[in-house]
Symmetry: C2
Amino acid sequence: MSDRTQLWNDLAAQLAVDSIRCTTAAASGHPTSSMCAAHLTAVLFADHLRTHVSDPQDPANDRFVLSKGHASPLLYSTLKAIGAISDDELLSLRRFGSPIQGHPVPLPEVPWIDVATGSLGQGLPIGLGMAFSMRLHGSPGRAWVMIGDSEMAEGSVWEAMEAASYHGITGLTAILDLNKLGQRGPTMHGWHADVFRDRASAFGWLPIVIDGHDVTAIDAAYSEARNADRPTMVIARTEKGHGVSFLANAEGWHGKALSEEEAVKAIEELGGERHLSIEPPKPGSFAPLEPGGSNVERAPAYDEPVPTRKAFGDSLAWLAGQRSDVVVLDGEVGNSTYTDEFQKVAPERFFEMYIAEQAMIGAQVGLQALGETAFSATFGAFLTRATDFIRMGAIGRADLRLCGSHAGVSIGEDGPSQMALEDLSTMRTLHGSTVLYPADGNATVKLVSAMCDLPGISYIRTTREATRSLYPPGEEFPVGGSKTLASNAEDRVTLVGAGVTLHECLRAAETLASDGIMARVIDCYSVKPIDGDTIRRALEETRVIVVVEDHRVEGGLGDAVLDAVAAGGALTGQVIKIGVADMPGSGKPEELRAWAGIDAASIAVRVRNALS
Amino acid sequence: MSDRTQLWNDLAAQLAVDSIRCTTAAASGHPTSSMCAAHLTAVLFADHLRTHVSDPQDPANDRFVLSKGHASPLLYSTLKAIGAISDDELLSLRRFGSPIQGHPVPLPEVPWIDVATGSLGQGLPIGLGMAFSMRLHGSPGRAWVMIGDSEMAEGSVWEAMEAASYHGITGLTAILDLNKLGQRGPTMHGWHADVFRDRASAFGWLPIVIDGHDVTAIDAAYSEARNADRPTMVIARTEKGHGVSFLANAEGWHGKALSEEEAVKAIEELGGERHLSIEPPKPGSFAPLEPGGSNVERAPAYDEPVPTRKAFGDSLAWLAGQRSDVVVLDGEVGNSTYTDEFQKVAPERFFEMYIAEQAMIGAQVGLQALGETAFSATFGAFLTRATDFIRMGAIGRADLRLCGSHAGVSIGEDGPSQMALEDLSTMRTLHGSTVLYPADGNATVKLVSAMCDLPGISYIRTTREATRSLYPPGEEFPVGGSKTLASNAEDRVTLVGAGVTLHECLRAAETLASDGIMARVIDCYSVKPIDGDTIRRALEETRVIVVVEDHRVEGGLGDAVLDAVAAGGALTGQVIKIGVADMPGSGKPEELRAWAGIDAASIAVRVRNALS
């Protein structure tokens, strides 16, 4: 056995031992799912993953994504072996307040972790996004993504497989840990590596089948992967709980920590505790390429009616020239969301993900992890396809700029399958999110621009139809603010709208004024954070608020307004929520707004009834 | 040309013409995406789809799912040709109030449509569920699913491909309409049928590549599909806009209706209007099998602490014996959600979908369309993977019984990726949904039982930890009700909880009582519909409501309570919402509840502050 072989095997034994130690200390976790991949990880970090441990954000670095996030003990044990965290930190696994959590989360204390994992099937789309970023800048780095066999059932994996080969990505390697045991028993395909080999080939990848405990084979596979002209999948047959007689290939051990006694026995079988330190190979230096800008010099400005979706696309095209870090992903609807305006001026920073929303958001997570200011857009209805990716993005402190177009019943004839009716609710509920809904083109320009600097999940909702210009170009729209468009001392009611319903509120106010009922109108373009002060003052002054939204009555603008009112302490006055309360069909936008009771005439009726 | 060939071609021309007629009448829609598949549909309905047109629910019938829902003009034209709808009805396409909507929706007026489509990539999982149901009952029927090439990028398609071959399904045929033009230009693979052939093969399907305008080849392919020992994919190269010189293979025509003049010209090229009537072949009769029941005779009953997730599984196992129509789908977490209790007693009605939540919900939609009372369960966090399928289920009036386990920060050490924190919001926002959250085992039994008879989307949220028994076995829990667990004339505050927070509210009430503050406690087990009367009365009587939930502060129980309060008219009193307002990490359940401010001690502090 060569020295290197000895080192790899010793290191693998250490990683297995440490995975047991930290989970036994925590009295929970996944030691056996870590042990199976110890050799794969040992060889990777000792000789193939090129990284500056002291500078994890160096753009030349390779990146490692543990898609099978429940094997976090292995990841933390590896971070200990490369000197990134201490043994004490490792042993804080799963404790309250520790950054060493049950599943990997990127936190300031652990900058070697780029993204949150733990919802299966997300690592490969994320790795693809990282590879996109590396290629964009000419980095020599590559993304290595470790995947479990159970998660190969997730369609998002195949979305990423297809996109990677289609886009000619070479800097991406999947390491498939084929341990053949899922959480409740055998996986679908067991050790039949040929199933995955054939599928990977059919999806344009280079499959390399190995014994995942043979360090020499692993070393050779990683070298082959680095030199391949295609994305590569190292398919490694492994044993769950490898190296310990009573754990190896045994059912009933998923997600179970060993008792103290069991741990002593297992660690003895693995050769006892070790404290090897390794230094991963360093990447070469390179001069990062600056991707091309656009020649759009002026911010878009509108005085004629324009759909806010068009203003969104125009804004991106302008921002392409302002900032070289802006990139855009599309779900094969760029001519509907108008991201194609960006594509026209900055094609190398535009990523066509086709109709694969999960891969789109996953790749976006990877792109932002490597420093890009990434926007993605599709119909708001279809963003729901990627809800779990967005949720995980929030957990991973990802800065995701999202646009959902074709909001509400106002899309008209296409019918409910194409209508975003729950998007405000979904986005508003996420931790730390920002939810924006502009009513005209000029507001859209400002809000898209603001999104570039917003942390976390930011969402802009756009409208299919043209809406008339309400604000002059250059008007400011601070996040968390609102606009009061009509207000005077005799106001007896406040109408709160956003996007398309703001226009209906304005028309309703005109009708009401002709009846002698003065109405205040507030543009609540920032649904979250909401301008609570303005809303509470309006309720105090007018006693009645009518909130109108082209969205379900639950979870959206109406609930946000109620929440703002309740946050002010004692309740007073009356808040009437109007939204889409039944299931729409097809029809003209104005017919459907009337049907939903969110058009000007319906609003006026509700106000008259409330005041009578 | 044989008579049959002539008929097929004439019928195809009619379907193309009618697709143009109805979209031109509507001035919107997708004629070219319909025309490409006219031959495929003509041959299918004339000679292969075995169905009783007058009895579309006959269990012997084949079923047709138009996964590429934007080709609805073709579907409606076909329904006209088989005598299901009239020409006038066809021409009402996309009009307000018409059941002939922009994308297919199953409505009482069109019982030949089983499910809603229009969000791409959903038809194949649904067809799989139909095939499951047919096999379960020994039906000779098969599911034919027409798919577009753009939607092959959706991972959900590959989830269904894998599941179908794994489960040995033969009664499922995909018809891939390879028209090579997506909505914004060329698709990823164009007419490279070999790409799809190789992938289908690798996923265990029989691929059959044909020219999609050659009716003889289509006829042969469908015959081969019916006789195959595997699921089959007919990969048909087609031309978008086929048969019309200025539309065939032309870019820029996606989703565009022809003008009146263009329509005249196109219809002339297609040979003019026709009004052929065809009768699809009828299926043979069969005696439906009754799947086996369970031997669990008594409803579960608890007096010791039990996790509500366990009570959920026990309830399903009991219901298996009560009703032969109950089926259960699992996302490879049956030992966590306890659906494995059902599997033990009724294995043939248990569908292991592995970690593929989209396919799980899609198959559930298919199963319920054929009359099964279908439950599916996974961690509440991972149900978000299938949000778009659930959304489409609501549009399709599907009865989907869903369980999300591992709710809230109370799962503890596994950390945020595994915590359902937005599920109440997502489920509550859906049209017509029911959202339930029991606090003990006996409540769970009643609510799961009630779900069997609930229409639409019903969701039950379960808890990982054991919770003590609060109610006797047999206590009734009407949907839309609540339980007031402590109430007297001196109550100065009302604590509203559900699930795990109800227990914290009860403990807080004890603490407050020892300080002389009497608190009413309400178990809001029915989050939607909510018991508004009880809540409004409580606010009136106690002036202060504190709502506590192990969920984000937005969109869940707190917003539901506020909504109920606002629905009562003039606001009065004070509503304080307590929920998870920051991003949790790992920790013990009690540590995390304290951190979130939703434990008894924190609740008591909030009450004291509010009352001081």
